[in-house]
Symmetry: C2
Subunit: 295 residues, 2 copies
Amino acid sequence: MTDYILGIDGGGTSCRAAVARPDGAILGRGKSGAANILTDPNNAIISITEAAKAAYRDAGLDEAGVNGASAFLGLAGTNVGDLTRYVHDRLPFRHTAIDSDGLIALQGAIGDEDGAVAILGTGSIYMGRKDGTVRYIGGWGFTVGDLGGGARLGHALLQEALLAFDGVHPRSPVTNAVIEEFKNDPRGIVEFARLSKPGDFGRFAPLLFDHAGQGDAQAIAIVETGATAVNESLDAIMALAGASRLCLLGGLASLYPQWLSEKHRSILIEAEADALTGAVALAAKGYQERQGAVA
Amino acid sequence: MTDYILGIDGGGTSCRAAVARPDGAILGRGKSGAANILTDPNNAIISITEAAKAAYRDAGLDEAGVNGASAFLGLAGTNVGDLTRYVHDRLPFRHTAIDSDGLIALQGAIGDEDGAVAILGTGSIYMGRKDGTVRYIGGWGFTVGDLGGGARLGHALLQEALLAFDGVHPRSPVTNAVIEEFKNDPRGIVEFARLSKPGDFGRFAPLLFDHAGQGDAQAIAIVETGATAVNESLDAIMALAGASRLCLLGGLASLYPQWLSEKHRSILIEAEADALTGAVALAAKGYQERQGAVA
């Protein structure tokens, strides 16, 4: 019987899997529904298993073979230890390793070398690896963290629109655009904000960067506040990990660079690969370590 | 039959009423439970009626007399028009006028003259009256407004504690105090914030002002950000209402003055009376206007 490995990237909207040979060569890929271990761990187990079986079928392999696989999973929400253990113990794979979604993104982006990664999407988290040790900063979520992430930027824009409506701050094209979107009724903004999840706020971030690029003073002020938060966190992760290269990931990765300080901008690199590829690489590494231990 | 008037101050935690002679001389006071017309309008109607009857009893009057009273109510949440009408139509008084809790606070604080009032408590709202016209700024609530209010200050402090924990910002006595309160576990801060209502955040505001007064750099930065927001809104309400005197109300009224700009600090006055007294004064004014119209 041939051994196969599985890399799995599980998130709140979908779960992706790739089956590969023990050397990391990918043979097939599969996708399934949400794998959010915090909100629905049992459904996450189903999604992870389904994505794995789909990858086996895509590779022309018998899906029952997943039971013999060595799997590495990068999942959101792994800082809650009990649920990680719960999911770990109920998955069908021969070997199962679970770590954060951030770690597989780091592995995919910078491979085995040292370096730092910032994921700038709805939220924001910073990682650096030095001599094999990975350090994290941020990622505390929208409510009291993730400054510089899209949700906080969108939130700041809605707040600015209310200040502009009240005449406390000057109006500008970007705040006018928001006020018009809510039919000139500030109560609509308040009600939207009350009901919104982070992703709903985050949808205003591209509008903000767009106006900032066109010179809108209010948009520039908000983007610069976000960029200051990102710069400060990058300073901290660079100090921890001593990295000489930096990769930005996430939906805002292409929008932020021009607003960041020169010392960070000058060491930017493109991601080598995506998070799923990172999960496969870590699965291969785990497999080879176990083989070495046996040999 | 003697005519009486009622002033009523209804809020989210309690409802207070005062019965008075038509000239505004208060005869008795009563108190009852929450009168939140947004979350429970039917219960608000009961609380308002109970507080009114209690005031009548306190004055040695038959509580059935509330049916003949001319009442002026200052209530939170009156910007939602349908609920105000719903409550208005179901109260037992002969004449009922409902306006915002802010208006009765303004009336109590500055009487019949022109001037401005800032209510700096958990939230923040600004009012100014000029030639009888009242203008409002702010009061949009914690989620995307009320900058400078206690909830936003407390929120900023928790956020600063996480940044200090991550080494993104320097630690200081005030952030150390927060981190220790959460047993040195940042996840405790995140979980607290996720479950907190504005008042829960606001409870950290006195700690913040205390440390700012002792020279803590991180505390000073947060208080100064709040004071800038208050100054800007005061600038705007002063421009709208052209006021030459300013009264601060709410739990932070005694803590903020030293942090505000000199132009606002130099025109501060003490409140003449409380919001309930303001409601009585407005009830007396309404009664006298109707009498004049009849005569």
